[in-house]
Amino acid sequence: MAKRYICLVCRNEIAHPNAECPYCKARSVIAEGASPRILGMVFGVMAAVFAVTGFYAKSFKAERSTRGQHHFGVAQELLAEGNHANAIKEYRNALSYAKEEPDYRLGLARALFEDERYAETENHLVDLRSQDPTSGILNYLLAQLAAREGRLDEAVSYYRTAIHGRWEGDTEGRRLNLRLELVDLLETPGRDEQLAAELIALAEIMPDDRGIQHKLGALMLRTQLFDRASSLFQTLLEADPRDHEALLGRGEAEFQLGNYITARTQYNRAKLVQDDDATNERIALCNRIIELDPTRRGIGLRERFRRSRVLIERARAATLKCQNPSGDAFVGPLVALPAGLASALENADQALAGRPGRATDETVEANTLTAEELWNQASPLCEASGPPDPPLVHVMAKLSR
């Protein structure tokens, strides 16, 4: 910035500071600009101030860091002791020295969570998560928070992010634990689909713990993953053939899959381990189903034919019972039967009328179809009044499969 001389009156530049202004004849002159020497001096001072400030700032940061770590250490100890209120205080002190230190903030969030101050906890966690969205621990804490506050959808979402998030140390172990926690969370009614998805994922990394395996098997039964439940219980039985719970579980899984003989076998084994009424009832039901099932292997054509007719009779009886649950013979149907049901009943009557024909594969097939058709038509009626004949229901279910 070269030094220039400016007339204070007319603002024109003048050659010399003592000269009269050639434009307005004034003598009021001011110097403007600076010599290179002044500019150099200013830059020199700037460099010096920069250096001093740098030293000052470095010392300050070091002291700040020391103080922050001191408070953080105290806070960690207090948190471990369960002294949440003082731990929070110390975490805050630590944060006052290093606001953006994620460990301090995470520690504070944990302490706040333990102290059940959820609103503030969430604010801190959300802040931290915005900086590190894939952090496993942050998503896990947010999931726990959401679960405690009853926001299940959010909790599930955070759990899933945490499962696939970044962890330090035993990543697989942590993920397994998270999946188990998530399964626990999803045990609430109405979330069977989500639960089933998690169980399938868990089946791939099944933990060794038999207790957990029993629990997961039961949940698989609940979510209708019968195949997986059966194989899980089978695995358990290979290790301990007298595992009563596993025997019952496998029996139930096979029963639901329509393998009534296998189911009966499992129930009988369970009975040998521990005899109880429920198991006996289950065995009896299996027996009745097996005796009614016309598709069972190993029975002759005549027996199949007989069973197919019994099937029609029981389907007809069940239909009539469903139509008139009170069983009052004098009260006729108040509502006209649907056309399909009437026709199915008529077909059933015709099949049962007169002497039974010859037992052939075709007649067995025809009877079975008649029974199935009648049952299909009657099912809506029976849904209201409850299943009138449990073995029939199971056989029909098996036939439809």
Binding site: I6, A119, E120
Partner: protein, 593 residues
Amino acid sequence: MNTIREILGKLSTMGKSGPVLDEPQRFLLLSIIIGIFSGLVVVCFHISIELLNWITIHSLAPGAKYLTPLWPALGGVAAYLLVFFVVPTARGTGVNYTKTAVYASDGYIPFRSVLGKFATSTLSIGTGNPMGPEDPALQMGAGIASLLGRIFHLTRDHMRLIAPIGAAAGIGAAFNTPIAAVLFVMEEVMSAWNAGVLGSIVLSSVSAVVVSRWFLGDEVLYQVPEIEVGDYSELLLYAAIGAVGGWLSALFCRYSIMLRGRILKLRERRRLWLPAVAGLAVGIVGTYAPETLGAGYQVIDGALHDRFAWNLLLVLGLLKLLSTALCFGCGTPGGLFAPTLFVGAMLGGGLAGLAQLVWPLSTSSVAAYVLVGIGVFFAGVFRAPMTSVFMVFELSASYVVILPVMIANTIAILVSRRMEHDSVFQMAAYQDGLDLPSIEDRRETPALNVEDAMQRTRDLVVSDRISVAEALKTIESSDADALLVEVRYGQWRWVGKRELERAKDNGDEHNSLHKTMKMWPVVRTYPDLPLDQALRKLAIYPALPVTSRVNPSFLLGTLTLADVHRAYGITRQEPKAEASGVGSSSAPGAPQG
């Protein structure tokens, strides 16, 4: 060494092929230098306050907490004694000091005041007094700029502009919000939107913030959580916060200034111990509510994260309000910026908590209300609407909350202004015997334009074919000193009354103007131009044709000095003697404005 000298020389001198840097560029370069220096000083200031704070209020020594009530008192009195005996120029608010420098002392701010402000504010804020470092930083920036301006021998005009440039750098570095700093300086220090200096202010502010972040890190003052604004019915709540905040800010201004006025009436020696009394009160309050000590940025951060219950927020806000008013009134060094934000945050958060209990519809997170509260109280106290909005925007880095902030701030300003006409700085300035301009006063005094003064007739416009006698008759029937003569469509010249009279005396009475008279060229003016610009032209031309900007040949009217007088309501005196020449001529008795 020679190379460096050469570079500096090239930077500063004019080479054979002309200057390397022209005047505006050199001014911009100086703005950056100011920004860097201010940033460095503010970094040191910030660190010094923190260090003192650690030594006193946040000491790790056992038993140190029992000394808490004493530290603000000791700090306050030490700072005040320093002001009283060593650096009296460090007294008062930085905004008013800088403003005075701009409007009354050609941008001169003694460097001693920078050192004084540094020391006294460090002592005061570092020991826990509830004041903020932004206002002192503003004054320090302005002082540094003034010193550099003097070193570089700037002209008076540039010296006047240099102080606000430094002020923006100081406040930008202290608060880490470059845009808000620029706007604050425009609204509060310059009290005008000066486009000419805007670039320099932005440059200095940004370079100061860069320096500050370089040394102190990118940490923002507050970690603002994610904000979602809920139902639009909530705008009613925000409006209510605006009204309450405006009312409270006006009360704060009124009573703190009243207290200050009473204390100023005491003898100066008696005032010496008042900061100690105020500090002791602050310290006692701080023992039970340590959140009220110091600038309180961390407490605002806590409020943003829903740390406090709504009733505690309101109590903290009230305590801070009272302690700040007490310290401000007693003259404890420090600024009002940070405490204002604190009170606003507590107010917003507290009312949000209350609203969540009673409001039937969904409400946003507390953080949104805290931010709105910050903007509201700031707007109410300082009457800087643009700064208050952009500050919240810079703090939150989110547009989500801008609409509520704008609504609430506008209401706050309206309510506050209704109760107290002036901002806290203006009131303090009046109390100190200063009459400084404010942006509100300027807004209330609209500038006149040419269209407000011009004559929308062709009474002063004649053809060059008319005779001298007719022209004289026309001019005598008006209060003008000259006529505009249309020589061709869209081209006018002027002729003076004296020349016409001379032509008449010479016997050219019946000759036409174009044959007889020498007529002078004239420049056009436009209706939308400020009257000030037209006046500059009227200094050269006695009458101006006012034409359309779309069709400059189309005459809309005329403008003379008499019209301007009329517009400003100036009564022209009857000439005492026969005047001669244009401008001082025999204007007939001017009509009243």
